[in-house]
Symmetry: C4
Subunit: 264 residues, 4 copies
Amino acid sequence: MPDKLTEVIEELALANRILAHEGVLDAFGHVSVRHPHDPNRYLLPRSRSPLLIEPDDILEYTLDSEPVKPPKVHLYAERVIHGGIFLARSDVMAVCHHHAPAVLPFCIAGKPIEPVFHLGAVIGEHTPFWDQHDEFGDTNLLVVKHEEAASLARALGQHSAVLMNRHGATVVGGSLKELVSRAIFMCQNAEYQLRALALGTPDRLRPGEIRLAGAISLMPTVVTRTWEYWSMRLAASGALPPRRKAAKAAPIRAAARRKAKRKR
Amino acid sequence: MPDKLTEVIEELALANRILAHEGVLDAFGHVSVRHPHDPNRYLLPRSRSPLLIEPDDILEYTLDSEPVKPPKVHLYAERVIHGGIFLARSDVMAVCHHHAPAVLPFCIAGKPIEPVFHLGAVIGEHTPFWDQHDEFGDTNLLVVKHEEAASLARALGQHSAVLMNRHGATVVGGSLKELVSRAIFMCQNAEYQLRALALGTPDRLRPGEIRLAGAISLMPTVVTRTWEYWSMRLAASGALPPRRKAAKAAPIRAAARRKAKRKR
Amino acid sequence: MPDKLTEVIEELALANRILAHEGVLDAFGHVSVRHPHDPNRYLLPRSRSPLLIEPDDILEYTLDSEPVKPPKVHLYAERVIHGGIFLARSDVMAVCHHHAPAVLPFCIAGKPIEPVFHLGAVIGEHTPFWDQHDEFGDTNLLVVKHEEAASLARALGQHSAVLMNRHGATVVGGSLKELVSRAIFMCQNAEYQLRALALGTPDRLRPGEIRLAGAISLMPTVVTRTWEYWSMRLAASGALPPRRKAAKAAPIRAAARRKAKRKR
Amino acid sequence: MPDKLTEVIEELALANRILAHEGVLDAFGHVSVRHPHDPNRYLLPRSRSPLLIEPDDILEYTLDSEPVKPPKVHLYAERVIHGGIFLARSDVMAVCHHHAPAVLPFCIAGKPIEPVFHLGAVIGEHTPFWDQHDEFGDTNLLVVKHEEAASLARALGQHSAVLMNRHGATVVGGSLKELVSRAIFMCQNAEYQLRALALGTPDRLRPGEIRLAGAISLMPTVVTRTWEYWSMRLAASGALPPRRKAAKAAPIRAAARRKAKRKR
């Protein structure tokens, strides 16, 4: 009997490793997902590099980015990014903050990433910028305060991603798999856009094309194909995450569920 | 007793994986071959990333891109590209559609790929462009209708490849091995052409050189050498495809063939 | 009972391999650490490529860059770089000299690397240049004389790194782990800075941001996270160094220490 | 008792694989060495990709590039390059012809590779160009005729390498290990030179620096270090060549040697 929470936790561990293996995340960056049973909670790993995340590293947070249980481990300093966005955007089910090499040049030059091929349309017509200095002056550029996270969420608005000057990007998705696709295709788009500049003027997708092609990564054939591909590449590198242990909690919960069923 | 169809199917699975391993294909892209016994049929895998294709994933299609047997699996949305080209070009025995990183900048900047080194001559003197928007207006840029495929085939004309604006490329070959070589050398050519631009003006091969050097990849020493090399690289990565199972169908077909022989 | 010297020697072997695996070092380059018990000594491997360094390759040197024991192995020709800097900078605990591909273009074009993203702030506000030709005329560009090393140390001054024209870079750290982070983030910064130039004008961190963000790599969460990540990546490649043997010396030294303790 | 010829043959197989693994050679390119016992002969593998070369693939040729024994295998079409250079340059002990990605942009743009860092000095002050079209008009750009090879050798002159327009490069060495170093450092130099151009004007080594630094790769510490490093990297990838079999010839030769010894 598959447990929805366990399934989501294992998928989140896998998503962390896929995004690291595909070059979106490195020592840094983090991925979260909204809690499957409670929209006022989200799941995010303890402070650890994404390629190494195991299901048992994943903690539950309130939307204030407070851990639900007193933590015995280090937490990501920038966890407020996730809470801030889940709070501001009820449609968002998953968030990724990263410093991908493909995206950094745009964050440094302050030049927009624009959809230049069909899969790049997943980022939408416009990707806003957010410069932490504008509102908060000199900082270490980490987003660690609630007001910084709220400001970032405002800059994100209804868009799919926000570029953070001299820092990185934050990407959102209506599901974890959508997020993973968007983050990967956004990096590919950035890479091709930069290289096309060496040849001439990149040709941007038209608004109608962006609207239509933006949905490709949600096509069932595409979701199935990309998830299998990225998982198999990860598996071939020997880096698939282990299954969730958390053995002590599970039986109790299962028993409680059986009890609840009998009562109905 | 080697079965020609099985041989072709296994070679097609291998070609898919070689092109993925050499960086031409990624989560997307597909490779087909004309049926060895029936020029009005072609073979193309079910919807799956090329690096993962097994012989048993390969289906038979009519030139209308209809599967010969009712499929129990997802099909590539863009399979009409293959049917459209096999229909229009009786000399073409194999087709590859891809979004290779080396080629995308040219598709985005709208700048032609031109043969700039001897192996690049396999693309021929001229590689045309096809912009789906010209004829079909706003689309998601996928080639999914027969008329889109027919239009693409017209743009391809008698050339070896066609660049698809803001999308990718489609390459053809007189044999599967020729196709694989052409697709790989075209990517190398594109990469070197782009990098040469940083130094000055790339020196294009002369028409006579293109004609003469275009045949190199068909030299027996070269076909043997490249196929062994790409296969061994794939094998070293642990990604060689399994052999064809299809065990239930094969004996029957073999029996039918023996029967047919005795009757003659 | 962990022996501090053994611990440092094993960490130095690991640091060598991490920096090689992360693309800072290749066939060349070297990493040293100040002796944990004697600030007038330093530890540096015998002449060997950093990816292959084992704890038993590591030798003890005076600050004159003379091996403490008569060596039976080849020594790095450029070991004076390490002695020269440990002599000039009592705050420096670790030194790395390298020819990283990300940094070389800056050493060749004579253009400064400037902090363009938060992690790049570890290099500080300014990275000086040192051209061996200025003071020493035509050489083979290797730093092999004490006066060359002293000149390089003067150019380094109180900075975190010095770029060596037509040669490479030398980076220092207040600890071995700080050095490793700085060397890796400096390469990433250089890479992103160069690529951002293709888009427009890179946006430099403000002095206050450099001061604040420069400390990120010393945050406990960050040190733990990066060291685990780089070690695991190295482990996944099968290249973790072996443990220190040196079995004959250790018991004696341990016995001497016990004796010394009892005497107090 | 080591047999000099076997040693050279095994080293040549290793050199082929090292140069392939380090990105100088791919499906194409070839490496030869002058025969250790007869300066009028050279050793070159049968037509096969360099990463796959085994000692038993290696054949003996006259300086006319005729195989000494009637071959049962395909030969490299361009073997005349090797004979032509060994004939023209008695100081040359090893030759490599390649199409390295780092070098191709220079061959395509017709811009010289110039020593821009100390290790790049191995190419010497000047690297000439040779355009096959100048003397031979339209060809497939392969060097297959004796007069083409002689023309190429004239262009090479007393230099260490020659760039072949729209084709690749040919590099020579006073020993096989010197050749391997030169080919690898030349590629690194080309890569850094191209990238430095994005920052400004690359700073060329001065003539005196080129003379002095050009000898670094022949320093014993350097030869030992680089050969161990490249071999270990190759070994880690699982691609070390097997030992020479040639079992039938060896015992006879060993017996003859024992006999000869007893007679003395």
